[in-house]
């Protein structure tokens, strides 16, 4: 391809990437190193239906002048990155000095919002991703062996969990697992414990979120693998059968190697998705038990007073986290690409 052809071919994509990927990242990074100006307080008398009180309020004229002079706010460098709400460097150092066992150290660290969220986010990502790949593969193989008249219907039903909006899906399940709900009652009967409550236990809440995550994302893996199975080389499969390979051996030595690139692809997409887990936590009202990085961002933006710098900092940390998680897969893809070329 000539360079000028490539340039015009790539221009629209390049512009879109600049506009919708590069600029927002620049904006988030700059927001994370600036904070609002120091507030200028005045004592004022405030009156309303319940009488008058003397209270602290913000001096609007003085604050407006500050904002006029420096519209971006004050530059604070990495201060927000290092404060208690994020990497909490001084709190971690203090915990290291004051605790005498690793267990006590981790217990103290787990009390800091960022590390607690990381704990859940990583557990969620690394249990949900492999489980959904296995389940998706199993469904794909099962559907592929069905009679062709049944396939369409079964594919449609297998896709349903992905079609349901995550927030709605988790809300419906949230009602069902209530201690007065259908599933909640069933579990109480199974466990023979009338006081069993999924929502009151951290461990059970984590399991519920993970099961929901697998249920919701397995159809994606299924569709990709099912498409891959349609390109399966029938000759290889047939010769393996003539050689007397069992069904399991056919899957292990023919099917899996054939769809391995797709497994990498699904893992890549799902690690990215699962690292940003948010909707199930909101839908299941699970913030008392499980918080993710995305939940922290939402909480900063949803409070009565918005914390834009804090939310921006957590966003940058999320981007860094995703990059670190994806780097092994990306390096591997790069190597494969080069060896083929």
């Amino acid at each position: 391809m000539r360079h000028s052809t490539f340039f015009w071919f790539f221009l629209p994509t390049g512009l879109a990437m600049l506009l919708f990927i590069a600029f927002p990242i620049v904006s988030v990074i700059s927001q994370s190193v600036f904070t609002p100006h120091e507030a200028v307080f005045v004592e004022s008398e405030n009156c309303g239906p319940f009488g008058c009180t003397t209270e602290t309020t913000i001096d609007q004229d003085a604050t407006a002048a500050l904002r006029e002079a420096k519209p971006l706010g004050q530059f604070v460098g990495l201060q927000i990155y290092l404060d208690r709400g994020h990497l909490a460097t001084s709190e971690v150092a203090a915990a290291w000095r004051s605790t005498d066992s690793m267990g006590a150290f981790f217990k103290t660290i787990n009390n800091l919002p960022f590390y607690r969220a990381m704990g859940f986010t990583l557990t969620y990502t690394f249990t949900v991703t492999p489980l959904l790949i296995i389940l998706g593969f199993a469904i794909a193989v099962a559907v592929n062996s069905l009679h062709r008249h049944l396939k369409g219907l079964v594919i449609f039903f297998s896709l349903l969990p992905m079609i349901v909006t995550p927030l709605i899906g988790s809300l419906i399940l949230f009602w069902m697992v209530d201690s007065r709900g259908v599933l909640g009652n069933f579990l109480q009967w199974m466990a023979d414990d009338p006081d069993l409550s999924l929502k009151a236990s951290t461990g059970l809440t984590w399991i519920m979120l993970i099961v929901y995550g697998v249920w919701h994302s397995a159809p994606f893996a299924f569709v990709v693998f099912y498409a891959g199975l349609q390109t399966l080389p029938q000759d290889t499969l047939e010769s393996s059968r003539i050689d007397g390979a069992t069904r399991w051996q056919q899957i292990r030595y023919v099917v899996i190697p054939h769809i391995m690139p797709l497994v990498t692809f699904v893992a890549l997409i799902q690690i990215m998705d699962n690292f940003r887990v948010l909707e199930p936590i909101i839908g299941f009202n699970a913030e008392a038990h499980a918080r993710s990085l995305s939940w922290i961002i939402l909480n900063d933006l949803n409070g009565e007073t918005q914390l834009l710098s804090s939310a921006a900092t957590t966003s940058v940390l999320t981007i860094l986290g995703v990059s670190i998680l994806l780097s092994p897969v990306l390096v591997r893809t790069w190597r494969d690409f080069n060896s083929k070329a």
Binding site: T35, P36, F50, E55, R84, A200, E287, L301, T305, L307
Partner: protein
């Protein structure tokens, strides 16, 4: 005869439309953002009776997530936000609402003095209703156990123990203890009732890790032992559902929700007949009730033309004129409007105001402390850490947020 009839009907119609037009004539656009509960719906519909300019409303439970962004532009999308004493602070901090003194002088003759929210000598909002959390209980259940409506949280615990002991209900106490805003609000109530102060005098430095804070948390923990075990996921809606289902006999509930509490489908006659309202309770021998007083009112945006501001003021003043009160609207809220006569549903809020309850503080940094408490107290409620640790965590989370926002050095 037929002609007479038509003529009369036409005259009547003309009179009605003429009086409506006379009552509210505006000349610019109005766009209102606010919460969605019935009283605010009534106010929104009232503003839409105006003619001469387009009146739009966006009444949603998510109003706090959009009102600031919708008023920061120039010109602002929303010409008015309906707020409460907690949420006006955010709009004040960002300087997006305008003083109303000149508009009140020109068009506000019908407004009462106590409706005007004055901050630093300037009128910043017009309040139209009051609200507070107070006791809602089942008088039939309390009769069965031979006790009066509890006046203190200690009495509430005793009553709950007796109800459980007699096997009437397993978890007789209801509470909006959902982790986040609700849990923090219940702590605020209890902490005020125990006589606590949120900040060091004259500073933005939080001071909640003290004896009153621990007492407040311990009382909340004791109450939670008589609640549905899922209490950390229950907001006001879920708590009301528990009450309607007859699972709860005692709860601290919002006045604005009490009036319509048992109006839903499927509520048994027993629950309907048994419902009763009383004032807020005290705690730990304190004399200040463990509750806060709230007002709801409207503001006018700063970044709009004077014509739009005037139209907004006229439309919303029309929406809360004394004539809007009737049998239906009177029950929706404790109106601060001239000519309002309290309905039985309002007794709890009135009792709260008369027994020396304090308003929710309008400090620029109160919202940050509220958010910090909402995120950090759930560990204590689950028994994962001590009260002191939870309060220290909340203080530390607040300090980090307040430093970022420029409230603390």
């Amino acid at each position: 005869m037929g002609i007479m009839k038509n003529l009369m009907a036409a005259t009547a119609l003309a009179t009605i439309s003429a009086s409506a037009a006379l009552a509210c004539d505006i000349s610019a656009r109005v766009n209102i953002v606010g919460n969605e509960f019935p009283a605010i719906q009534t106010v929104g519909a009232g503003a839409q009776e105006c003619s001469g300019g387009e009146v739009k409303t966006n009444l949603t439970a998510d109003h706090q997530k959009i009102n600031l962004a919708g008023m920061q532009g120039n010109p602002a999308e929303y010409t008015s936000a309906i707020v409460a004493n907690s949420s006006i602070v955010n709009l004040m901090n960002e300087d997006v609402i305008r003083p109303l003194d000149d508009l009140v002088a020109k068009h506000g003759a019908d407004l009462k003095k106590n409706q005007l929210i004055t901050i630093n000598g300037k009128i910043m909002a017009v309040a139209f209703m009051a609200n507070a959390q107070h006791l809602v209980y089942r008088k039939d259940v309390l009769e069965k156990i031979g006790m009066d409506a509890p006046a203190t949280y200690e009495d509430m615990l005793a009553a709950a123990a007796k109800i459980r002991e007699m096997g009437i209900m397993e978890n007789p106490i209801g509470g909006a203890y959902k982790a986040g805003w609700n849990l923090a609000q219940e702590f605020n109530n209890m902490y005020i009732g125990a006589g606590g102060k949120f900040f060091k005098d004259g500073s933005a430095e939080a001071s909640i890790n003290n004896a009153q804070g621990v007492a407040a948390l311990n009382m909340m923990k004791s109450l939670s032992e008589y609640m549905n075990p899922d209490f950390l996921t229950h907001d006001s809606n879920a708590t009301n559902a528990e009450y309607r289902a007859g699972n709860v006999a005692l709860m601290n509930m919002w006045g604005s929700r009490a009036a319509t509490l048992t109006d839903a489908d499927g509520v048994s006659q027993e629950v309907k007949d048994g419902m009763a309202i009383a004032g807020p309770m005290t705690v730990a021998g304190g004399s200040t009730p463990a509750t806060t007083l709230w007002w709801d009112g409207w503001t006018v945006a700063k970044n709009i033309s004077d014509a739009e501001a005037e139209a907004t003021f006229i439309a919303l003043t029309h929406a809360i004129r004394p004539e809007m009160l009737n049998d239906k609207t009177s029950t929706e809220a404790v109106w601060l409007i001239d000519g309002y006569t309290p309905t039985p549903a309002a007794t709890g809020v009135f009792a709260a105001a008369q027994s020396g309850s304090v308003p929710y503080p309008m400090l620029p940094y109160q919202g940050l402390l509220h958010t910090a408490l909402g995120a950090e107290l759930s560990d204590f409620m689950q028994g994962k850490e001590s009260a002191e640790q939870a309060l220290a965590d909340a203080e530390a989370a607040y300090t980090a947020a307040a430093k970022e926002s420029g409230f603390l050095k």
